[in-house]
C-alpha cells in the first residue's frame, strides 16, 4: 500500500485540502464513512430491491426520507408565567449548506404565535409622515419585491456560554437561535416614500400584532437602506412562527428588531423606548452602564461538525465544517484550530460568502486519537475578527448575556467524545 504524505496545515492534525484532493481522499463523513461500499471493499455490488419495483407516487407536500433522521427544532418547556413565550432552536449540527429549511428556522416569541387571517390584517404607517396610510395584505402582494439571503440570529444566542458553568450541550442547544433564509418582500423605503417621511423623523417604531404587540424602534437610516417588509421565506409565504402574513426584516441586526406579524410603523423623532429595547436586549457593562440599541450581530463562526455530544468513532480523517456570519458584511476568512488556538489553518469556503448571510467552511482534519480542542475564528469584510471568550468577558463582564460572538471551543477527549469546553 502506498504511504500517504499528509501536508499539515496547522497543529494537531489539520490538513491541507488541496493535497487531499490530489490523493482522492476527501469526502469522508464527519461521523465516519458509512456508504455500503465503504464497509467492505471486496463486496460484490447487487442491484438493490428499490430498483426492482415502482416507487411511491408524487405527493402534494414533501417529507424527508424516513432514513434521513428525525430533524427537529428543540423547543423549551412552556412556562405558564409566560403564555406563548419561549423559543425553539435550529439543529445546526445536522444541516449542511447555508439555507435553513423553513420548518427548522429558529423561533423566539414573546406572547405566542397569533393565528392571523390576512384578510383582517392591516399594516399602518403613521406618525411623522405626509399622509398616514393603511395597507392590506392583498395590496402589499402587488408591489415589486426584492429577495435577500440573510442570516437571522437572536441576540441572546450563545448567551449561556458567557456565564460559564456547566454547558454540556450541542450546537443546537447552545447556538441554535441562528438560521438563514431567502427573504422576499417590499423594500420598506418604498412604503415609507409613499407615506412621505417628514424630515424630522429619525426613528421608525415597528409593532407586531401578537398578544404582546411587541415593538422595536429602527433608526431611519437603516429603515431607508436595506430593511424589507417581508412576505416570503425561501419562496413560500412566511410561516406563522416567523410572522405570517408579514414581518419586518432588518438584515444583519439582532433578531428581535425584525418584528414579526408587522402591523404598525410609526415615524418618530426619538425611539419609542419599548420594553424590549430598554429592560430587555440591553447589555449592562461591568461599570453598570448599559448599552442600548446594539444592533448588528458581531462577526462569529461555529464548528457544527464535529460538535458537542458527538463521538468520533475512531482515529482518522474527518471533515471539520461549520458556519460563519457577520452583521457588518460578508465573511472574508475562517480559520480553524485543533490545538485550542495555538496554531490556525485557513478553512475553505464552500461558496462565495454573501453579505450578512451564513457562509459554510470546511477543512480536513486527522484525529490522532488524542485530546484536541477544535475552534473556528471568522473575519469579515469590515475588518472585524471574532474574539476569544476571555476578550469578551474582559470587555463586558457577565451581568448581561446578549450579543456574545466569542469563539466556541469543542473539546475532544481521547475516547472521541466531544463537549463544550472553556479555553
Amino acid at each position: 500500500m502506498k504511504e500517504l504524505q499528509w501536508e499539515k496545515a496547522a497543529g494537531n492534525g489539520l490538513l491541507n485540502r488541496r493535497h487531499l484532493l490530489q490523493l482522492g481522499l476527501t469526502g469522508l463523513g464527519a461521523a465516519g464513512a458509512s456508504a455500503a461500499f465503504g464497509q467492505d471493499a471486496g463486496a460484490i455490488l447487487q442491484i438493490p430491491e428499490w430498483s426492482r419495483m415502482p416507487g411511491a407516487n408524487a405527493s402534494a407536500y414533501g417529507e424527508r426520507s424516513r432514513y434521513a433522521g428525525d430533524l427537529q427544532r428543540m423547543a423549551g418547556t412552556p412556562d405558564p408565567i409566560y403564555p406563548g413565550g419561549g423559543s425553539s432552536r435550529t439543529p445546526l449540527q445536522f444541516l449542511q449548506g447555508t439555507i435553513t429549511p423553513n420548518a427548522l428556522h429558529f423561533e423566539r416569541h414573546h406572547a405566542g404565535i397569533p393565528d392571523i387571517d390576512p384578510a383582517g390584517h392591516t399594516l399602518v404607517i403613521n406618525g411623522l409622515v405626509r399622509q398616514p396610510l393603511a395597507f392590506s395584505y392583498e395590496n402589499l402582494l402587488k408591489y415589486p419585491m426584492v429577495s435577500r439571503i440573510n442570516f437571522l440570529e437572536c441576540s441572546g444566542n450563545s448567551g449561556a456560554l458567557l456565564r460559564g458553568g456547566n454547558a454540556d450541550g450541542t450546537a443546537q442547544s447552545l447556538h441554535g437561535l441562528l438560521s438563514c433564509a431567502e427573504w422576499t418582500g417590499v423594500p420598506l423605503s418604498t412604503l415609507l416614500d409613499e407615506a412621505g417621511v417628514s424630515p424630522e423623523a429619525r426613528w421608525v417604531a415597528a409593532v407586531g400584532a401578537d398578544a404582546a404587540s411587541m415593538g422595536r424602534s429602527v433608526p431611519i437610516e437603516k429603515a431607508l437602506d436595506d430593511v424589507l417588509v417581508a412576505l416570503y421565506q425561501n419562496g413560500e409565504p412566511i410561516r406563522p412562527g416567523q410572522g405570517y402574513p408579514v414581518r419586518l426584516f432588518c438584515p444583519g441586526w439582532e433578531g428581535n428588531i425584525s418584528v414579526k406579524w408587522l402591523t404598525q410603523l410609526k415615524l418618530m423623532r426619538e425611539p419609542a423606548q419599548f420594553r424590549d429595547e430598554t429592560s430587555k436586549y440591553t447589555d449592562t457593562m461591568p461599570d453598570r452602564s448599559s448599552l442600548q440599541f446594539t444592533f448588528p450581530m458581531g462577526v462569529k463562526s461555529l464548528i457544527t461538525s464535529p460538535s458537542g455530544r458527538m463521538n468520533l468513532p475512531r482515529p482518522g480523517i474527518y471533515q471539520v465544517t461549520g458556519v460563519a456570519w457577520s452583521g457588518h458584511g460578508a465573511i472574508r476568512r475562517v480559520e480553524v484550530s485543533a490545538d485550542g488556538g495555538a496554531t490556525w489553518a485557513e478553512a475553505e469556503m464552500q461558496a462565495e460568502p454573501g453579505d450578512k448571510a451564513l457562509a459554510r467552511f470546511t477543512i480536513p482534519w486527522e484525529w490522532s486519537g488524542g485530546p484536541a480542542v477544535l475552534q473556528s475564528r471568522a473575519a469579515d469584510s469590515a475588518g472585524n475578527v471574532q474574539p476569544v471568550r476571555d476578550e469578551v468577558l474582559a470587555a463586558r463582564g457577565t451581568i448581561s448575556f446578549y450579543h456574545n460572538n466569542c469563539i466556541q471551543s469543542w473539546g475532544v477527549d481521547d475516547g472521541g467524545a466531544i463537549s463544550n469546553v472553556y479555553v
Binding site: A212, S279, Q292, I399
Partner: protein, 182 residues
C-alpha cells in the same frame, strides 16, 4: 406556430403594452404602485398604543397607587407576587440596586430608564394571559402602584400623562445609546 412567428406575435403584444404605458420600467413615475389607503390619525386612537417618553400617545386618564393596589392584586399578583417580589427572575419588578456588589437585580425601579415604558408595556402586553383587558385608567393606576412599590411615587400621587413623563427614573442616566456606532 413556429418559434419566429411566436416571437413576432409576442413582440407586437409587448409593443402595444408599452404604448399603453402598462409595462413601463419598474420605479418610473408611470409604473409607481401606490396602494396605501389614506387614513387619519384619529382613526388610530384605539390602534396606535405607542406611549412615548415625550408623552405622545398617552391617553387621557389618571390613577394613584392606592387605586392600583386592587387592580394589581386582581391581575398581576399571580406572577409578580406581593410587593412585586416576583415568582421567577423576570417577574421581579421591585427592588434591586445597580450598584450592588454582586450581579445587580434589574427591575423597573433599579433598571428601567423611562417611566413611559411602564405604561406602554402594561397597556400593550399585560396581564400576560389577558393582554389589553385593562382600561386606560386601570393602566395608570397599576403603573402608579408599581412605581410606588419602587419608592418612586407616593401612594396618593396622581399619575397621568404629564406627571408620568415628568418622573426621573433612578437609572434614567444609566444607558448609553449605541445606535450611532453602527
Amino acid at each position: 406556430m413556429s418559434m419566429s412567428r411566436r416571437t413576432a406575435a409576442w413582440g407586437r403584444i409587448l409593443a402595444l403594452l408599452l404604448c399603453a404605458g402598462w409595462l413601463a420600467p419598474a420605479g418610473s413615475q408611470e409604473a409607481r404602485i401606490q396602494l396605501g389607503t389614506p387614513i387619519d390619525e384619529d382613526q388610530l386612537s384605539g390602534f396606535d398604543l405607542i406611549a412615548a417618553p415625550d408623552g405622545s400617545g398617552m391617553p387621557p386618564g389618571a390613577g394613584t397607587a392606592r387605586q392600583g393596589r386592587s387592580v394589581y392584586e386582581l391581575n398581576c399578583l399571580r406572577c409578580h407576587a406581593v410587593n412585586g417580589e416576583g415568582v421567577s427572575g423576570n417577574t421581579v419588578i421591585a427592588g434591586g440596586d445597580m450598584r450592588s456588589e454582586e450581579s445587580p437585580l434589574r427591575t423597573v425601579g433599579s433598571y428601567w430608564p423611562h417611566a413611559s415604558t411602564l405604561f406602554d408595556f402594561i397597556r400593550r402586553a399585560m396581564p400576560a394571559d389577558a393582554p389589553k383587558t385593562l382600561s386606560d385608567d386601570e393602566v395608570y393606576q397599576v403603573t402608579a402602584y408599581v412605581l410606588f412599590l419602587n419608592g418612586i411615587v407616593g401612594e396618593d400621587e396622581s399619575i397621568n400623562s404629564e406627571t408620568l413623563t415628568a418622573i426621573a427614573m433612578p437609572n434614567g442616566d444609566g444607558f448609553v445609546d449605541h445606535s450611532h456606532l453602527h
